[in-house]
């Protein structure tokens, strides 16, 4: 029996277990990163593995001079990636905002992988994130045995990134309690982290930067203070630009989830998914797809992620209680639940939408009737 470390406790970024469920970006796309680095002759900021131009190419995809094809990691407006990379190059912190399902985490991971070659310096923001997760903690055995010293200090990912000149990521920054968020202010403006217990400080090395992601439309978040907000350049990741793109995303994710939940296979009819996506998009944008009628928007976010869950639960309903085919009736309840978050105002919005838009629409009468039935 060999004494080995349990693979799930591998120190992040050191070795990569072959059977990891999901490899880190820098491992999964190591080849592309290597090719880019080899052919990258543009100036690189200090401690960047690639030039800003190459980082943008890595995310947006393209063909290199020698013909190597780089797969696009982010499909969306070019502007978004360009602004994000430029922000990091001007050593400003980057805040990625967006509703669920807009690839915030995905973009931040790939940015960190391309810029610093390491996407594992990560702070998971939760309502219980302590200050130690951003500054430093103590190894109490050491502390008691030898008193305060650098050895007794347990650095946070942020502190390590400062020392190494790397990119650190903070996920779900708005979930972090406000007082803990504020520890970032000095780090971002002074680029230094004082350790008063030792009378020392950690100064950030050139190349240090921070990418935070946050959801700006969820309820119950801790709004960023304006002092902290000022230290970030903000990029809002948009929802899918077209109905087709969104239908595609929803259909793909629904298939994956269906498989992993081992739902009985139900032909999910792209038409029904398209209807759900259309309803969500129209209500979210406050305008009908043909651009002719304006609408009130309900208070919910109606993100792509919610559309996915509506379709998934519709499929489950159809499989277990229906006739095995996804019908409007299976979706109506889910849609109602997603749209009507505020029972008074949203209900009016929804009924207005039903009566003034859906009732008239050709080929939607079954859908309209199903929605009307559950809304009455």
């Amino acid at each position: 029996m060999s004494v080995s470390v349990d693979p799930t406790f591998v120190k992040p970024g050191q070795t990569q277990p072959a059977e990891a469920l999901r490899p880190h970006a820098e491992h999964a796309f190591a080849d592309e990163l290597a090719v880019l680095a080899a052919q990258d002759d543009r100036p690189r900021p200090a401690r960047w593995k690639l030039s800003p131009w190459a980082v943008a190419t890595y995310l947006l995809g393209g063909t290199l001079p020698d013909g190597t094809a780089i797969t696009p990691k982010y499909v969306g407006p070019r502007r978004i990636v360009e602004v994000a990379v430029s922000t990091l190059a001007t050593d400003r912190a980057l805040l990625l905002l967006g509703v669920p399902g807009t690839a915030k985490t995905w973009v931040s991971e790939h940015l960190a992988a391309a810029v610093s070659g390491d996407s594992t310096l990560l702070v998971q923001g939760t309502a219980g994130t302590p200050e130690e997760a951003i500054r430093y903690g103590w190894n109490y055995a050491q502390l008691l045995a030898h008193g305060p010293s650098r050895d007794a200090l347990v650095p946070s990912p942020v502190m390590r990134a400062m020392g190494e000149g790397a990119t650190v990521r903070v996920e779900e920054l708005t979930r972090v309690p406000a007082d803990v968020q504020d520890t970032l202010i000095t780090i971002l403006s002074e680029k230094t982290l004082p350790i008063p217990e030792l009378g020392q400080e950690v100064q950030a090395v050139r190349g240090f930067n921070l990418i935070a992601t946050a959801n700006d439309r969820d309820r119950g978040v801790n709004e960023l203070s304006s002092a902290l907000r000022r230290r970030f350049n903000t990029v809002v990741l948009p929802l899918p630009a077209s109905v087709d793109a969104e239908v595609d995303i929803v259909a793909r994710r629904v298939d994956q989830i269906g498989r992993s939940l081992e739902l009985p296979a139900v032909p999910h009819g792209v038409d029904e998914i398209r209807r759900v996506v259309t309803v969500f998009r129209e209500l979210r944008d406050g305008i009908t797809a043909d651009g002719r009628t304006k609408l009130k928007s309900p208070s919910g976010t109606l993100s792509t992620a919610e559309a996915i869950s509506v379709v998934t639960s519709g499929l489950a309903l159809a499989a277990h209680f229906g006739d095995g085919v996804l019908r409007p009736g299976d979706l109506a309840t889910g849609i109602l639940g997603a749209v009507v978050r505020d029972p008074a105002a949203d209900r009016v919005v929804w009924q207005e939408y039903l009566e003034t838009v859906l009732r008239e629409r050709d080929g939607w009468s079954d859908f309209y009737r199903a929605c009307r039935e559950v809304s009455a």
Binding site: V83, T234, R347, E355
Partner: protein, 848 residues
Amino acid sequence: MTGIQESGRSAEDARWPLLLGVRHHGPGSARAVRAALEAARPRTVLIEGPPEADPLIPLAAGRDMRPPVALLAHAVDEPGRSAFWPMAEFSPEWVALRWALEQGVPARFIDLPATHTLAWEGRAEAGDGPAAEEGSDAPGGTLRVDPLGALAEAAGYDDAERWWEDVVEHRGAGGRDPLAPFAAVEEAMTAVRETHEGAEGDRDLVREAHMRLQVRAAQREFGGDAVAVVCGAWHVPALRRKAAVADDRALLKGLAKVRAELTWVPWTHRRLARDGGYGAGIDSPGWYAHLFGAPDRPVERWLTKVAGLLRAEDRLVSPAHVIEAVRLAGTLAALRGRPLPGLSETTDAVRAVLGDGSDVPLALVRDRLVVGDVLGEVPSGAPAVPLQRDLDRAQRRLRLKPEAAEREVELDLRKDTDAGRSGLLHRLRLLGVEWGEPVASRGSTGTFRETWRLRWEPELSVRVAEAGVWGTTVRAAATARAEADAVCARDLAGITALAERCLAAALPDALSVVMRVLADRAALDTDVGRLARALPALVRSLRYGDVRGTDTGALAEVATGLAERIFVGLPPACTGLDADAADEMRGHVDAVHGAVGLLAETAAPRGSTDPPPSATDGPLARHGDLRARWRAVLRTLSGRDRVAGVVRGRAVRLLLDDGEVGQEEAARLMGLALSPGTPPGDAAAWIEGFVGGGSGGGLLLVHDERLLALVDGWLTGVSAEAFTDVLPLLRRTFSAYEPGVRRTLGELVRRGPGERADAVGPGAGAPGFAAGLDQERADAVLPVVRLLLGLGGTSDDTPDDPSAGTSDDNSAGTSDDNSAGTSAGTSDDNSAGTSDGNSDDSLAGVGR
């Protein structure tokens, strides 16, 4: 990068005539033109533009002439046919003009005369005017290939505008040779035109022939090395080409002509922008003006301006923000391989750094700075605007003289001339020219009659001149003005009023815009009260439009949409109201009821007499069930306990009047509302809603003693302390009745309600009448009644028929209590019924 840096020439060996190919409204071109003129010092400057404007050139030197302005050419006999040559401060043409005036060098316009252009205009389809052509450097209307696009593509750019900006407009003043860029542009354009041989439109060839002749004439006059030409880059190779004079003259032979006049008119940045009216083809006039005006560091200055604007709007923007935005814009430009941050880089930087990633502040920046609110000025010496001319013609045609003395005219809109007069006066009012003032008609109040008080004040001429910015004809100007007003209007009522005015002024084009704005506003408005206020006016317009013979399809569609929104929003809005709000809401319910009736009525005959186009088919077809849906809403209202009493009572009454609810059912609902459990105040409010407010409720009580008995029974049951509370409300309700009705009611009550137990149904029970109905004698009245009501011969839907009115189908019996009414109200089912057994307890000993 394809910069235009090196070109071995210098000012000495410039090729004459000096051909300065520019992009119209390009600030970089403007700077380059000025530098080139300074360096070469020609003795005359020729500019692409209508030669008839030559006498107007000196006006450009005046101090009260402030760009943006436009040269406006219009056909004398037809002011609606016009063309514009807009010039901003940063237009190369304007710069050349000013340089010539400052240096005392003669300047001339050399394009094809407007007299031909306008005649041409008449033949070409609308929208392909010289204004459009002037604007885009690629004369897209006549030429299929885009020359700049071809060049940009060759340089590896996907956007031609951006390429031009990078290589020409954003070039700093660093180049040593001011003529070099023009030589390079000429070379490039020559190459493009060689590749696209034959792609020039007919009009281009003619224009270029004319310009060549003019250049030649100028060379003869001023000498071979003294002539500079400022024209679109596209034309440069053609002007350089040696062509036989005879050929050029041949091309110009036999061109159509119209009598044209030119003048300067003030212009705005918004109109230079692509999305406004006669666009000049640039979407960022404000940014260009900034580039042209900023002495140095354009990006820093621009972002400081943006910060100032955002601060004025109470956004927190510190100098540190501006610094970071400048850095980000610079890095972005480098990443994108551009020599200098352009508008897109600064916009991205503003969004990410100053705007917290949001597009909302950006919209503001775009509106105020990128486009900008700059309004030009023209000296008063400029010739009269065509609007005045159009007005003169209209006045002559309609025999309506402007007179200083006040007089009243009465117009019969059924006559063509009078309708024209009314339209003109309404249009002028829209334009702020208050020549006529509508006054209440004496005598007839029909919708086809209007009375106006006319008085022409001298300052109205000034108003007409001011209104000239909106268009060249009264109609076009009023349309443009109404559209602009609609977009800026603050509230729904304002827009409906505007819609009424547009109808009166017979401006169908403006009406469609107004309707779109109205539909948008209505969709976003959450206050049912405002919607309910807007609907009656809209329906009124609809009927009025019918009188005028205007197409009101769009109007009907919007009105229907508005009604639908009210139907959805009304029930939740009627709950939890205090007394005043409830009274107001009752007014809204009444107004909507009337409007829905009118709306359904207006739509019905139209649908049957002339089949409407398919676009309006939907809404019109839906009018039929509009009433049914409104009744469903009323039912919901009448059955919901949380709805204010006065509204509930009113809803029941309206349903009763429509014959939708029978007397039995009404009595049941009244019994419920007045049952002992209901707070007395609420019950009194219900009574007020049901029979109050001058709606003939008194007669209803006189004729249906059962209802009276219910009120009477309830009132005697009210406790002493509650009685004083409800007394004012009841007094208000009953004092509104006619004295005769009040007396009859008093007598009935004194006699005691139980006396005439068999009195059920209308017509029975009033003193002095027989107990039953004499069918024969009643029938004799019917033809006259029909005639009075204009019902014609058919009588299948006569609610006035006494026998039909009472024989409601009340068969479907549910024996539940309160909830029966509620569920009936929410479903569309019309035959929601009542049961006698259910209301027995409250009716016991009264009705039977």
